[in-house]
Amino acid sequence: MQLISLQDLSVSYGGNTVLSNVTFGISPGEIVTIVGPNGSGKSTLLRSVIGAQMPSKGTVNRSPDLRIGYVPQKLHIDPTLPMTVRRFLSLPDRVSNAQATSALEQAGAGQLSNRQMADLSGGQFQRVLLARALLCQPQLLILDEATQGLDQPGSAAFYQKIETLRQTLGCAILMVSHELHVVMAASDRVICLNGHICCEGEPEHVASAPEYRALFGSGTQGALALYRHEHNHSHDHSCGHDHGKDETGGQHSHPAHEAHR
């Protein structure tokens, strides 16, 4: 039984088709990564999965009582809204102090409980978002470019955390990222998206697929893909070392330059 399955999903905004005929599903315990250029409909796809976006065609089937832990790309908390980390964890359902503490520890954000959300650094904020997502004991954890704004060691550490969590919690993970070199290695399945599913399969398969190369460049594979992919973002990923090997590595290998917190 799949946790969630999309059948022939199409989404359009005012005559503009963003996604067309997307069909895929996620099984329990699976790590699925969606990669694709900007504007390829990645976020729209995730929003369809959580039910925030109505499909213009096709269906989204969730298994009954599916618990989704959602870590958004970015969460802007209005400065007029006072919010401690502890209070935030109790949204929307109240959790005990013990639960809150253990979720924070799991997410690597212990000691932050009494801080104001607005005062957290980018990395702390993402870990608190993750802690909150863990509190509903999710069967499916959804991460939307969860490491945006983190530096490379920070995001590498974040994804390492995610993989440990998958092992301890056994939840399925659906994530979107353009940090291909970090993410693809940890995935069971990669979906390459550009308005429709260009190709999908195991990371090795996708990385060598012609459709993927057409989108992200070939030759240097990941490194070039990453660079091209990022050019209208302010992040700096042109850090000089070779990411090419990482993507084609085994399923649970990590990039060598990962920093440990």
Binding site: R47, I50, G51, A52, I68, G69, Y70, P72, L75, I77, D78, P79, T80, L81, P82, M83, T84, R87, F88, S90, L91, P92, D93, R94, Q116, A118, C136, I142
Partner: protein, 275 residues
Amino acid sequence: MITLFDSFLIRAALAGTGVAIAAAPLGCFVIWRRMAYFGDATAHASILGVALALGFQVPIFAGVLIIALLMATAVSSLSGRGFAMDTLLGVLAHSSLAFGLVAVSFLQGIRIDLMAYLFGDILAVSRIDLAVIWGGATLVLLLLWARWSALLTATLSPDLAYAAGINPKREQLVLTVALALVVAVAIKVVGVLLISALLLIPAAAARPFAATPERMAAIAASIGALAALVGLQASFVLDTPTGPTIVCAAAVFFALTNLGSAIWKNRLPAVSNDR
């Protein structure tokens, strides 16, 4: 039988505190969601409600409530269709106010004191008005209490709400209904032009001292109630119009709390103590 409620000052005090206590927590959401002008628009539209109520001879409360609800749903459903929210609110607010004022002039044989609706007439509050105000205030507070967590989640992020199985559009509707209710009960107390003030100022005054949303709502309600009492007393002593005096009192609280917190934190004064 003569009771305490027979004193117009006591009734005014009860009316003022009732409205303030309901308006303040709702005002917090209005601030957090940056929909300050939404309150204004709903309030201005209510003049049309007054005119229609008088024309069709239904209770003013009902007329105002219906128009305020219509206005709020119109704004919600029209938003995101080609016009920016502020444009839309400006068009709807001012045109409904204008239509309201024109409609009032058509009412023949009925002499209405427009000023009383624009600026409120808290000293003329009757026992029935009092019952309506406290009934409405209780309803608003119950509504907010029942939906608090969902409202807060939807306010933080609609997507976060969706993922948790909460429909943010429904929560928006809850807020809209609550807003219409507050406007309808507050029109008598502070009038159409100053309702937004009672929503926003106590909440803004409470911000510097609040660490959580709940505390902000509670502090805002206390400040609002206090402002109502202080304003009432001041208007009695100084012989000033009561509604505006209450708003002045709230504004003074706002200045004091924000100045106080700025001095307390030993830095330049800021509107709110963030970032």
